[in-house]
């Protein structure tokens, strides 16, 4: 359990994860692991269960069977301390999901103050630094509705980082963006990765996966069909399904 986890072990460890919605089995035995500092991309066609997997990792949805461990904490444990889990795991969503009644700065500051009970001046200084880091200095007092999609998504990233997570989950974070703003978000994530942040991304950005990921998983219909370092997976895929998918999206 938590006490026995050491940083040289995988930070995320999924073993034979299964998840059903009624009679529909969406995840059919997924096993993967993420080590500290790694950037992992999960790719695959729509409906392959990618987003469900990432939501299960953050306990937003319960799994049906199998095991997911974050730094040794078993996510499917009914006595799970969700706050302890969520302090370790940051999550960014496709639709940004900012709090629309708060400014960019307030969005970043809220959780550390409300959830962790940290002091306001200290949180504000950190929030300003985070907004500057995602290149939004000057937008502190702007409301989400006045920001572009790409800007909102970067506020969402800063908001997650304010909780000082050990790992960041990205659920198709560029899927709702205009093509020209996709880049600014990807640059932000790439910088995070270069700083050593552990990142798990569900993405359709194949070039990003190829350039930034340490390891890529291809999923289809609830199973991992094939995985490997991007240079191998993208150029020498062995499974016919992977080859067909890549030929369609590349």
């Amino acid at each position: 359990m938590a006490a026995t986890w050491t940083p040289d072990q995988p930070i995320v460890q999924c073993v034979d994860v299964r998840k059903s919605f009624g009679a529909l089995e969406v995840l059919k035995g997924i096993s993967l692991s993420v080590r500290k500092g790694e950037v992992i991309c999960i790719i695959g066609p729509s409906g392959s269960g990618k987003s469900t997997l990432i939501r299960c990792i953050n306990a937003l949805q319960p799994i049906s069977s199998g095991s997911i461990q974050i730094e040794g904490i078993e996510v499917s444990d009914p006595r799970l301390d969700k706050l302890a889990l969520r302090r370790k795991v940051g999550m960014v969503f496709q639709q940004y999901n900012l709090f629309p009644h708060k400014t960019a700065l307030q969005n970043v500051m809220m959780a550390p103050i409300h959830v962790l009970g940290q002091k306001r001046p200290e949180v504000e200084a950190r929030a300003r630094a985070l907004l500057a880091k995602v290149r939004l200095a000057g937008k502190e007092d702007t409301y989400p509705g006045e920001l572009s999609g790409g800007q909102q998504q970067r506020v969402a990233i800063a908001r997650s980082l304010a909780m000082r997570p050990d790992i960041m989950l990205f659920d198709e974070v560029t899927a709702a963006l205009d093509p020209e703003t996709v880049k600014e978000v990807l640059v932000t994530i790439r910088e995070l990765a270069e700083d050593g942040m552990t990142c798990l991304l569900v993405t359709h950005e194949m070039n990003f996966a190829r350039e930034v990921a340490d390891h890529v998983y291809f999923t289809d219909r609830g199973v991992i069909v094939e995985h490997g370092p991007p240079e191998t997976l993208f150029t020498a895929a062995t499974d016919e399904r992977t080859q067909r998918f890549l030929s369609q999206v590349l």
Partner: protein
């Protein structure tokens, strides 16, 4: 002030239009007393109905059936029955069952007709406020709540800091309507002899024989009271507006 009184006196003598409240001190005192009672009823019932409504809506969204069920029953009972009947039920039904108390050597009811009116009208309006707040709460996207959850917010903290501020903005127009209705419904207290505006004005026209003129005064009074309430609510709505937030 004297000029106004003189003008209305003049009006009465020349045209026969008898706005006695504006020149007769006795009628004015009765009218003004009624107005004060209407304000007391309106302000207390608005505040109480908002508090009961907000708490009810919170309980209604709770995962526990034991909490949801009483709230739903409350809404059904108070929404499906006429407010005048509710008032009679409280005052004549429950009021007579409560023990009387000794006050200044006299035996008086535990709760006065004014107190019963406040209780009854607050509960009546609160039943609607529960549903109004619920509509606002349900309009907050599930995904916004999920983002809060992913940041470690508990249910209660997410409600206080995220759901309620957004829900209030969504339901303000509907709330506005219900509070306007409530203000006008305070006239029902007339039926249990609470000396509010309608009651006072009725007394005046019975004695001064100026039904038409007092009707005009009565309608104008409520027109202005509701106007002020709506103006305040709109100011609140404007103050809560979020730049760039389109629904």
């Amino acid at each position: 002030m004297q000029a106004i009184a003189n003008w209305f006196q003049q009006l009465y003598e020349t045209t026969g239009l008898n706005f006695s409240v504006f020149y007769d001190a006795y009628d004015w005192d009765r009218y003004f007393g009624g107005l004060r009672m209407t304000l007391l009823l309106s302000i207390t019932t608005i505040l109480l109905s908002l508090i009961i409504g907000a708490v009810g809506a919170l309980l209604q969204g709770s995962p526990s059936v034991l909490l949801r069920l009483p709230v739903n029953a409350f809404v059904v009972v108070f929404r499906n029955t006429p407010p005048l009947v509710q008032l009679f039920f409280f005052y004549f039904g429950l009021g007579t069952m409560l023990p009387a108390v000794e006050a200044a050597g006299m035996r008086v009811p535990l709760l006065s007709n004014v107190q019963w009116a406040i209780i009854s009208l607050s509960l009546f309006a609160a039943a609607f406020n529960v549903e109004i707040f619920r509509s606002g709460i349900e309009a907050v996207p599930r995904t916004t709540l999920e983002a809060a959850e992913a940041l470690g917010y508990t249910r209660l903290k997410a409600y206080i800091h995220i759901v309620l501020p957004l829900a209030v903005r969504v339901c303000l127009p509907a709330l506005n309507n219900n509070l306007v209705n409530l203000l006008k419904t305070t006239t029902l207290a007339y039926a249990i002899a609470v000396p509010e505006t309608l009651y006072a004005v009725k007394q005046i026209w019975s004695e001064s024989q100026n039904v038409f003129e007092m009707m005009v005064v009565l309608l104008a009074t409520y027109g202005i009271l509701v106007g002020v309430l709506v103006w305040l609510m709109h100011r609140w709505e404007r103050a809560m507006r979020i730049p760039g937030y389109a629904r």
